[in-house]
């Protein structure tokens, strides 16, 4: 067979397989147990009520990353960093030159700089793919509550046109609308304090996030977030993270009120010594 024909057949077969795989991911499973169809509210829109969680390692790093040792030697493999592939389209975060240098510094100084270490509010879109569940509660015609187990963070998405936020905040101000079966949420009014992951990816107060929640079937949401920040990036960029319904029996959000876990870290040096304190065992920090 001639080379060009061989090449063409291979190309055709590859694209056919790619299309077939994409179709399988989009359509409900047809072999064995079929995935349930998307439930609907009284107004015909998808019902996204329930408890959801992302899996994977986007919370560690939005880009491709190899496994590496964790920050504390004594924690060994139990707190090392797993590998993961990029959730950023194109695996590139288009930083301006000054910002790329700052991100590198953030990455190297993670322990002292990541707001997550101090149990600070996670901002958006990070709250969505933190390794903790979150719950969506709403009725048609009303605001949409998204409550995150991490640090009791939450946000209420006001359904309607975007509004000028009166003040900056950690979680921003979110407004939403339906476009077909997609819940589109626009958020602005952020301060510059949050990160996007544990790799030091950051933003300014000019951040604007547009999220799209599209149900694939009853237990899966195709979640995309487009990040725009003209002070930090050269163009908008988009991440895609599948979100799965928590199907545990009696699933519910518990408390992760982590302020209690960081008080000694943040205020311990100001406490009145009694002479009866239990000394901490030494631990060696590998980072930076």
């Amino acid at each position: 067979m001639q080379n060009w024909l061989k090449g063409a057949l291979i190309a055709l077969a590859s694209s056919a397989i790619t299309v077939a795989v994409m179709q399988t991911m989009r359509a409900p499973a047809s072999d064995g147990a079929a995935a349930a169809v998307v439930p609907r509210m009284a107004d015909g829109r998808p019902d996204l009520n329930g408890i959801w969680q992302a899996i994977g390692t986007a919370h560690w790093n939005l880009q491709d990353h190899t496994a590496r040792p964790g920050p504390v030697l004594e924690l060994g493999a139990a707190f090392a960093v797993p590998a993961g592939q990029a959730v950023v389209e194109g695996n590139e975060i288009p930083y301006q030159e000054w910002a790329a240098a700052k991100q590198k510094e953030n990455f190297e100084n993670w322990v002292t700089r990541d707001p997550e270490v101090k149990c600070y509010l996670p901002g958006l879109p990070r709250a969505t793919y933190m390794p903790y569940p979150f719950q969506i509660v709403y009725s048609p015609g009303n605001d949409v509550l998204m409550a995150y187990e991490y640090a009791s963070a939450s946000r209420v998405i006001k359904m309607g046109p975007a509004e000028e936020p009166p003040v900056d905040s950690w979680m921003g101000q979110s407004t939403g609308r339906w476009e077909g079966d997609t819940l589109v949420v626009e958020s602005t009014g952020f301060n510059d304090q949050t990160w996007f992951d544990r790799a030091g990816n950051f933003h300014s107060e000019a951040l604007r996030v547009v999220e799209r929640f599209t149900p694939v079937h009853a237990d899966l949401i195709d979640y995309r977030a487009t990040i725009e920040d003209p002070k930090v990036f050269t163009r908008p960029w988009t991440i895609q993270v599948p979100i799965y319904r928590r199907r545990d029996a009696n699933a519910q959000l518990l408390e992760f009120k982590c302020v209690e876990f960081v008080e000694e870290l943040m205020y311990g040096h100001l406490v009145k010594p009694t002479g009866k304190e239990k000394p901490f065992a030494p631990a060696r920090l590998r980072w930076p």
Binding site: N49, Q135, V137, A147
Partner: protein, 330 residues
């Protein structure tokens, strides 16, 4: 009939309520007397459990009574009936009047233009309006409040920016008093403006979580009794305080034990009022159960702001560093 659309925010006039009453009063005096008698009878059955005559709350699409909206709890009613033995400065953490405490003692609404109700006390049971606190718990509270400069754990969970607790988070605080209720199928969610607490209460009859799971705000399970949402709360930890607001005065910083059991009742009695009642039982801390009643008023224009408490907490480091400076100076 008013339309059942209930947006969390947006301007709503309070006019229609008064106009309806005025029309009935002017044109139907005999019927008015009957209505008033019926209202008086139902009032005798206990506050807050009977809707205004002729009014039933609208329903959510899945058939729950609709409590949705933004509600506030501003009031000039004191928490307890005051007593000569009270020491308000101590309760605010400032025993010798030198301004050492955190937070003002006033919960009055002087910074807004609201017209406030003033009743006898928010505590409605025991009948004397005083919470039946065991002596050890008051001593524990006092010892903590006198030592807030020594350790962060001596502060209430509010100053620590952990939580205002349940039901403590609904006791009036003077600001940040927004409560947004949103409902979805099988759930009632209450977003407390302070400290951005989103309580999500299942109403599907599932049992409480296992007894080894302990929570600052307990584990809530709701059910509907007629149009009243009844919430049963167990599984508390022993690190919280039953009240953290200065306005609770003597009850502020009283500890909660793992035996704490709380039952709340939310009844929407008219378009603009939810009567909230809570019964608190903790046999290690109180000699008897006690009950608090707080009306919640609809305020769709109240903007709920982010209360990023921990992110901006200067109270704890400032109180502690002042304490170390004081120690050094001695």
């Amino acid at each position: 009939m008013r339309a059942p659309t209930l947006r969390g925010r947006g301007v709503r006039r309070r006019g229609p309520q008064r106009a309806w009453f005025a029309r009935w009063g002017a044109l139907q005096p005999d019927l008015l007397i009957v209505v008033l008698l019926a209202a008086a009878v139902s009032a005798c059955q206990g506050p807050g459990t009977n809707a205004q005559e002729g009014w039933t709350p609208p329903r959510t699409p899945d058939g729950q009574p609709d409590l949705q909206g933004i509600w506030t709890n501003y009031t000039a009613t004191p928490f307890e009936v005051p007593d000569a033995s009270d020491n308000p400065r101590l309760y605010a953490g400032d025993p010798d009047g030198r301004g050492r405490g955190t937070g003002p003692s006033s919960f009055l609404n002087d910074v807004t233009d609201r017209k406030l109700d003033k009743g006898r006390s928010l505590v409605v049971d025991p009948p004397n309006g005083r919470v039946p606190i065991m002596a050890w718990a008051e001593e524990h509270r006092t010892a903590r409040l006198l030592s807030i400069q020594d350790h962060y754990a001596n502060h209430t969970p509010w100053e620590r920016c952990i939580t205002r607790g349940v039901p403590g988070g609904i006791f009036p605080a003077g600001y940040g008093s927004g409560y947004q209720i949103l409902q979805g199928p099988g759930y009632v969610a209450i977003l407390y403006e302070m400290i951005h607490e989103a309580r999500i209460i299942p109403t599907d009859g599932r049992p409480h979580v296992g007894s080894s799971i302990r929570l600052w705000n307990g584990d809530s399970r709701g059910r509907w009794e007629g149009d009243t949402l009844v919430v049963d709360i167990t599984n508390y930890n022993d690190k919280g305080n039953i009240a953290t607001n200065a306005a609770a005065q003597r009850v502020r910083a009283i500890p909660q034990s793992e035996g704490l059991h709380v039952v709340e009742r939310f009844t929407r009695v008219d378009e603009n009022t939810i009567n909230y009642e809570v019964t608190i039982e903790d046999p290690k801390v109180f000699t008897a159960p006690w009950r608090v009643a707080i009306p919640l008023k609809r305020e769709p224009d109240h903007k709920i702001f982010e209360y990023a408490c921990h992110e901006g907490n200067l109270a704890i480091p400032n109180t502690l560093s002042a304490g170390r400076a004081r120690d050094k100076a001695r």
